[in-house]
């Protein structure tokens, strides 16, 4: 992946992120700008859409168009945008809380619908913005969740498995400790026609200091993308959640209305005639 760092920087806005020092989201932001630079996208033709959360603050840190919407609803907002403006590059950014907890239903249906969006979820297994509650990807025995003092006791949400079983056409995982790899995967994801889902393991040192260990456990998947869903699911189940790479990619029918005008609205008047 080649991207002129100066070119990448042009995709950043002048706003200083609100993130804590050491937050994984910084690397994701940078990687996204690199991917945009590599793909030579014009700022004006990119829209970054998000919900609410630390990870959802990304749009304002970009010099592209952006929409910082409400918690959990970035995907439908982006779907409306892309459906009517297919020529734009529409990227959705958010967190595990935003995307898998309150936004879980839209995630399912975005995977099925396969609108040509790229969805980056910065997964830190916690609600950072609201100061440290368990998220769907939190381990059931994590005792630091502020509303679950004895652990959530709930199986973690498996983002890749759910994306695959919902029919997603592109499923990948990356790690914020490897920004070049994120950028490479994002280039593929953006270039993919259809809904591309990229889970980025993005530590929250403030509420989950234990995630500093991730850099020791993350490694690449042995194999490249498969077009076989069952195969992809096997890999996901065999994995501990810390392998990275593009897991699955295939071409599925894309939901994109054709927007050509056939008749003038007035044509419908005659239907009301008696």
């Amino acid at each position: 992946m080649t991207a002129n760092p100066r070119a990448a920087k042009a995709y950043k806005s002048s706003l200083k992120p609100v993130w804590c020092p050491g937050c994984g989201h910084f690397a994701v932001l940078s990687a996204a700008t690199k991917a945009f630079a590599h793909l030579e996208l014009e700022q004006k033709d990119v829209a970054v859409v998000s919900g609410i959360g630390c990870s959802s603050r990304v749009p304002a840190y970009m010099s592209t168009y952006g929409f910082h919407g409400i918690h959990g609803r970035a995907l439908p907002l982006a779907t409306g945008l892309k459906a009517t403006r297919p020529e734009l590059t529409v990227v959705v950014s958010g967190g595990d809380g935003d995307g898998f907890s309150i936004g879980g239903n839209h995630f399912l249906h975005a995977c099925r619908r396969n609108v040509d969006l790229t969805y980056i979820v910065m997964d830190n297994e916690v609600y950072g913005m609201t100061k440290g509650q368990a998220s769907p990807t939190t381990a059931p025995d994590w005792l630091h969740g502020k509303l679950t003092p004895q652990g959530s006791g709930t199986r973690p949400f498996n983002p890749a498995a759910i994306a695959l079983s919902s029919g997603a056409s592109f499923v990948a995982r990356a790690f914020s400790g490897q920004p070049n790899e994120i950028a490479r995967i994002l280039c593929e994801a953006i270039s993919h026609r259809g809904f591309s889902f990229v889970q980025v393991l993005s530590p929250c040192p403030t509420f989950c200091p234990e995630q500093k260990k991730w850099k020791q456990v993350v490694r690449a998947f042995d194999d490249g993308p498969t077009v076989n869903v069952e195969e992809a699911l096997s890999r996901v189940y065999a994995d501990d959640g810390y392998s990275t790479g593009i897991i699955y990619q295939d071409s599925h029918p894309v939901w994109q209305p054709t927007l050509g005008e056939e008749v003038n609205v007035r044509a419908f008047e005659q239907e009301f005639a008696i």
């Binding site: 700022q43 168009y65 929409f67 919407g69 609803r73 409306g80 009517t84 734009l88």
Partner: protein, 574 residues
């Protein structure tokens, strides 16, 4: 709004599962319309999803009619199974005529009020024709009752059943003919003067709203089905496609409203339609549209509430949530069509206002407006020249999405515009869009968001007013139908009253209302609710309004006679 007719005839048709009652109601209305009459038809069903009892309630008149009648002149039942459930919906008089089929069971107790009962051999006559059905016998009889020539009916049946094949057409025509002839020559057809010929349309309020939306420029709809809004969406779905737009059936209402925001932010005028429960799910995102200043239209086809309530019946009780259902200080537009035909222009206007004011606009229709079919004069062709205020972007100049301007309008850039890059935000923000929790920014933006709505000149459409006199009736939405008719009838009896109905509910056109009420010393507020949502809203904005309240919750319609009674009581007690 035109003068009220003096001659109207109301017919209720009844029958149980598969009797084809709605079909003959629809055909009868069309037949009447082709004769030059005006009319409305609404439908009513029992609780069964399919195959239960149904009723078609028609009102035919020599002038436009917009509401349910005080009582019915004729009730014809193909059979009487479970018919008592419709008792409340069809008040009768002593001189009403009740027509039964000899094989259709005994008329229920509520028909006892009527003194004229007649029994027809509908089933027997139907059997004389191969594949003959008793509803067609009834239709033939009714056509003659209406004064039609048989040729008119024959032509209509030919068109209506064309795609079912010649056999069906043939059987229908023959069965209808038997009914037509059974009417006999001795009896005179009903006497309605035929109005002057003019171009007429026949449509439901949901269709009118859908067409108005398309005319206004809506090119994207995202929605989730819900009674009684689904047919508005079903009207739009195929037609949007034809005009270069699209409809997205979303996974839920949260998705639909957010998709609408996204599409609108991308530059496409966008809409969703729903009913109470769905609207409740949309209020969070409506706040986002207010804050991010994204235009959009929501048509709320109201039904009986609260909660799941009475999904198939009408009520005007989503006023509160439409006006006040958003958290924070969130000014936005609320409109209400004043009738079935008016749903077209009001929805078109809503699109115009939403786009112009960069605001969500809620249109409060209701089940009665939405699902009643009306015969109307072809409406005037209105064009609001709707155009969003788009930013003129100069190279090098810094674009401020939420610039604080004198009129409150901040020119809007949409993705793809060079130099217009910004982040739309639901967080409070500086003019640039950058999040801010500073008091100065919050106040400046709150002021601006309010100012753009309050300082705008909404013109004549904002408030409808008719008549004169010291008694004023104030109402909104579909209640105007009954109030208008009440005024006409009172005037005919020598009492002039005024009727005032704001088409724009928020911001409330306070000046226009005060002007319309100037000189009125007694005010009656009429609404289809339980405790007076509209009255309370009027008081909050027109403090000190001294009004009598006529609040009737659904599911029964407000009838003009009820309004007249109230006015007559007010006349007694000045």
């Amino acid at each position: 709004m035109q003068n009220f007719c003096r001659a109207s005839f109301s017919v209720a048709l009844l029958g149980s599962g598969g009797a084809g009652i709605v079909t003959i109601g629809q055909l009868l209305l069309t037949l009447a319309a082709r004769r030059g009459l005006y009319g409305v038809m609404s439908k009513s069903y029992g609780p069964q999803i399919r195959g239960g009892e149904s009723a078609a309630l028609l009102r035919l008149a020599d002038q436009p009619v917009f509401c349910a009648p005080d009582s019915f002149d004729l009730v014809l039942a193909v059979d009487w199974r479970n018919a008592d459930r419709f008792a409340d919906e069809m008040p009768l008089r002593a001189d009403s005529l009740i027509v039964s089929d000899e094989a259709g069971g005994d008329p229920p107790a509520f028909t006892g009020v009527a003194e004229n009962h007649e029994v027809l051999p509908l089933t027997g006559l139907a059997k004389t024709v191969k594949r003959g059905r008793s509803n067609m016998v009834a239709l033939g009889w009714l056509a003659r009752w209406l004064g039609c020539e048989f040729g008119e009916l024959e032509a209509l049946l030919g068109e209506h059943f064309a795609n079912k094949g010649e056999d069906v057409v043939g059987a229908s025509v023959e069965t209808a003919r038997v009914g037509f002839e059974h009417f006999g020559d001795e009896r005179a057809p009903v006497d309605i003067p035929l109005p002057a010929e003019a171009e007429r349309w026949m449509l439901s309020g949901n269709e009118a709203a859908g067409f108005g939306a398309l005319k206004g420029g809506i090119r994207f709809v995202a929605a989730y089905p819900i009674t009684p809004a689904s047919d508005l969406l079903e009207y739009m779905a195929p037609r949007l496609q034809k005009v270069g737009g699209a409809l997205l059936q979303a996974e839920d209402e949260l998705a639909s409203i957010n998709a609408v925001i996204g599409a609108s932010w991308g530059g496409s005028p966008s809409l969703t339609a729903t009913s109470g429960p769905g609207l409740a799910l949309m209020t969070e995102a409506l706040g986002l549209a207010v804050m991010s200043e994204t235009p959009l239209v929501v048509v709320d086809v109201q039904r009986g509430g609260p909660s799941t309530g009475i999904p198939t019946k009408s009520e005007q009780t989503d006023l509160n949530i439409a006006l006040h259902g958003l958290h924070g200080d969130a000014p936005h537009l609320v409109l209400a069509p004043l009738g079935i035909a008016d749903a077209m222009v009001t929805t078109q206007w809503a699109v115009h206002l939403a786009e112009t004011l960069q605001s969500p606009a809620l249109v409060l229709s209701d089940q009665f407006l939405g699902q009643t079919t009306a015969v109307i004069d072809r409406p005037a062709d209105v064009d609001f020249e709707t155009k969003r205020l788009r930013a003129e972007l100069e190279p090098g100049a810094e674009y401020q999405r939420y610039a604080v301007t004198a009129d409150g309008f901040s020119p809007m850039a949409v993705p793809g515009d060079p130099g217009g890059m910004h982040t739309a935000d639901g967080l409070e923000h500086q003019p640039s869009g950058t999040p801010s929790s500073a008091a100065a920014d919050h106040h400046a933006q709150l002021d601006k968001r309010l100012r753009k709505l309050e300082a705008f000149d909404y013109g004549e459409l904002a408030c409808h007013s008719e008549g004169s006199g010291v008694i004023a009736i104030v109402c909104w939405g579909s209640a105007l139908g009954a109030c208008h008719e009440a005024r006409e009838r009172l005037a005919a009896d020598g009492l002039d009253v005024r009727v005032v109905a704001p088409r724009l509910l928020a911001p409330l056109p306070v000046d226009a209302l005060r002007e319309a009420l100037d000189g009125a010393d007694r005010v009656l507020v009429v609404e289809q609710s339980h405790r007076g949502q509209f009255l309370r809203y009027l008081r909050s904005e027109l403090n000190g309004l001294d009004a009598r309240l006529m609040a009737r919750p659904g599911p029964l319609p407000i009838r003009p006679g009820d309004v007249i009674d109230q006015v007559r009581q007010m006349e007694q007690t000045p």
